[in-house]
Subunit: 397 residues, 2 copies
């Protein structure tokens, strides 16, 4: 019997307990031993099926030699960080879905895990139930990863889908998402791109092997997105998607950012709708591979945690344990990246052409919407200085 | 220095040597040691950059204690089977892209590997460079896998794409694929569904944990597919794709087969075109996740092999090593599966309705094309006995 503890009994924590009991047969068959939740750390005792397992005292878990894996689903940094360090120090594997903690402290926690000969695993922190981190670090290990980009946040993708399909304004689509339980009462982390930003940091850490400092990653959300741009883009054969992107730059640099992008309707990602996520990894040998599925939700995310628990107890120590260097050098501003830009200005085509040279006009009716040639973000800023810019977004590809 | 051997210097074998040298820095960084191809087994010596490494004597590899991993890219069963057994018996890890060997002898070779404390890895045998087998067995391990389906063969998908886009007949599209190097001179294994069949066997073996006997898996290709059906399907909002499918049936049964299917143009797989592959895995907790990318080609497939080499030398023995039971019980005929069917008959709507009851008409002009309700394959056979059936395909979903 393999015994584990869960810290935090919110959506994901409850899901973990459910997956362990509902798929018990499957799991025991794979592990050759049953898996059992022994203890659940809560802040306040609640009635329910897990009442007998609850404790509000972390040291009960820390000091219990029977508990081999701790699943941390507390969220945030403070308590989660403290308990994770103590659990790893006590020689327990730790599994988490906590993207904020991994993005901010992953490097340090992985080092500690390696020192203690245990695993710190966080497949569930990016893409919910979509396998992405293991494939990236294992199945694509023989590649030099050139770029990763993806629809990393289901809430904003749901809002964008509603804007496209029903012509809803951002604010109405957001209310609809809240009513359906896809967006939280305080939607800031989602709509401002912060959630996607944490995930792209983790992907970049793993892909490039260096700590990406979250505070240097520009995160632009969709709260300022106008329905007008959604419609102009669609007529021109594009969809607007909120993408997190991490790119290896010429030389040894790398960058990462989150922003809405125009992507061609021919791109496989154009049809990723509602709360679905999709992540593309481009390796120098394997080309582009895409991973697609529900990026959140109780059971998908919980099943990723439980798979990590199984991974932790199944595999011996690896000689190439996943770590990344704390060295932040080489991170460059995303404005160095060259792409085409979509712009909408209050002004004429002549104004656009005077600022940007040759452009591709998408619409002209008092305002002018157009696509520039490939330029850097610095150039886009510089050249648009004389214009009254109403919207400006990068074009993918 | 970690030394490996390659058996067979065709497309994939050459790619493996290239990836090892081109991504040497990446690989050494991950492994903490350099990786080197020491010996290459060939049937006939050839000039070229690898001339110094060639041997035509397998026992040179078998008896070389320095060689820790053997990459088998011979293909087929006979020699590949013999050498794989001997390499595993000599305590060497074996990595392969050989889907035929894995589909037919995987169970036995995995058992042998486990007995010898080494790994037999074959990520490259399905989906080329797309990570699918590791994610299926590892990241989705906490799920009961209900179904897997996918576009598993790039050649046939290229042909289908040409038929849809340019209205080419099958025979012309095939010649075009051959001219571009996407189809072999003898295209039988691809167009008859045999290649896709081997891959769905491997996926089913891993998903359900029991050997699927390839000879029981019905494999229908696209060689009899009519342009007429492609066009009728498209007007009705469907695409025709060649799918391999493996399904867990009610009770403890399971089935697998390959056949052309109608899939809705809204399905993410509808836009998988040209030589791309896509595989959907449906788990009871995680829902549907899709993996997408180039399913073949020198560098993608080779990079999957090299990643497996890295996996083999990095990880200690696992307590849940991937194996499946040789027990073939529980495999049921795919005709037990219920779906809607697309039929085109020489006859009227009345003929169709008399045979199938209520149907959805797609086209009527002397011939009649229609969709049935959900019925089993047995029922479809039985009920269509009185009809002159020109085409019959399952509808996905």
């Amino acid at each position: 019997m393999i015994k584990i503890a869960i810290m935090g009994l919110g959506t994901v924590g409850t899901g973990v307990a459910k997956v362990v009991s509902e798929n018990a047969k499957q799991i025991e068959h794979r592990l050759g031993e049953a898996l059992q939740v022994k203890t659940i750390l809560v802040r306040r005792y609640k009635d329910g099926p897990y009442r007998q397992l609850m404790t509000d005292d972390f040291s009960k878990i820390e000091a219990d030699p029977e508990i081999r894996v701790v699943v941390e689903t507390i969220g945030g940094v403070e308590a989660a960080y403290e308990y994770t360090k103590r659990a790893l120090s006590a020689g327990k594997h730790v599994v988490t879905a906590n993207k904020q903690l991994v993005a901010e402290k992953g490097c340090e926690l992985l080092e500690l895990a390696q020192k203690k000969g245990v695993s710190y695993l966080f497949e569930a922190s990016v893409g919910g139930g979509i396998p992405i981190l293991h494939p990236l670090t294992q199945c694509l290990a023989a590649n030099r990863i050139e770029e990763i980009y993806g629809i990393l946040n289901g809430t904003t993708n749901y809002i964008l889908t509603r804007m496209v399909r029903t012509g809803a304004f951002f604010s109405d689509a957001l209310r609809e998402a809240q009513a359906k339980g896809y967006a939280e009462a305080d939607p800031t982390a989602d709509v401002q791109g912060i959630d996607a930003g944490r995930k792209i940091c983790i992907l970049a850490d793993l892909a490039f092997g260096h700590q990406v400092p979250p505070e240097l990653v520009e995160m632009e959300g969709i709260s300022k997105l106008s329905l007008r741009d959604v419609k102009i883009a669609e007529r021109a054969g594009y969809r607007i998607k909120l993408l997190g992107r991490a790119v290896r730059m010429p030389g040894s640099g790398r960058t990462a950012y989150v922003a809405p992008h125009l992507i061609s309707e021919e791109h496989p990602m154009a049809n990723v709708e509602d709360v679905f996520n999709a992540i593309v990894v481009r390796g120098n040998a394997t080309g582009e591979v895409m991973f697609y599925g529900k990026g959140a939700g109780e059971m998908p995310t919980a099943s990723a945690c439980v798979s990590d628990v199984m991974e932790a107890v199944s595999s011996g120590p690896r000689r190439d344990a996943v770590v990344w260097s704390p060295d932040e050098d080489g991170f460059v501003d995303a404005r160095e990246l060259h792409t085409r830009f979509y712009c909408r200005i209050e002004g004429s085509l002549t104004d656009a052409a005077m600022a940007f040279g040759q452009v591709e006009v998408l619409s002209e009716d008092g305002e002018t919407a157009f696509l520039t040639d490939r330029i850097s973000g610095y150039d886009a800023e510089e050249q648009s200085r004389s214009l009254n810019m109403l919207a400006c977004m990068r074009v993918l590809g």
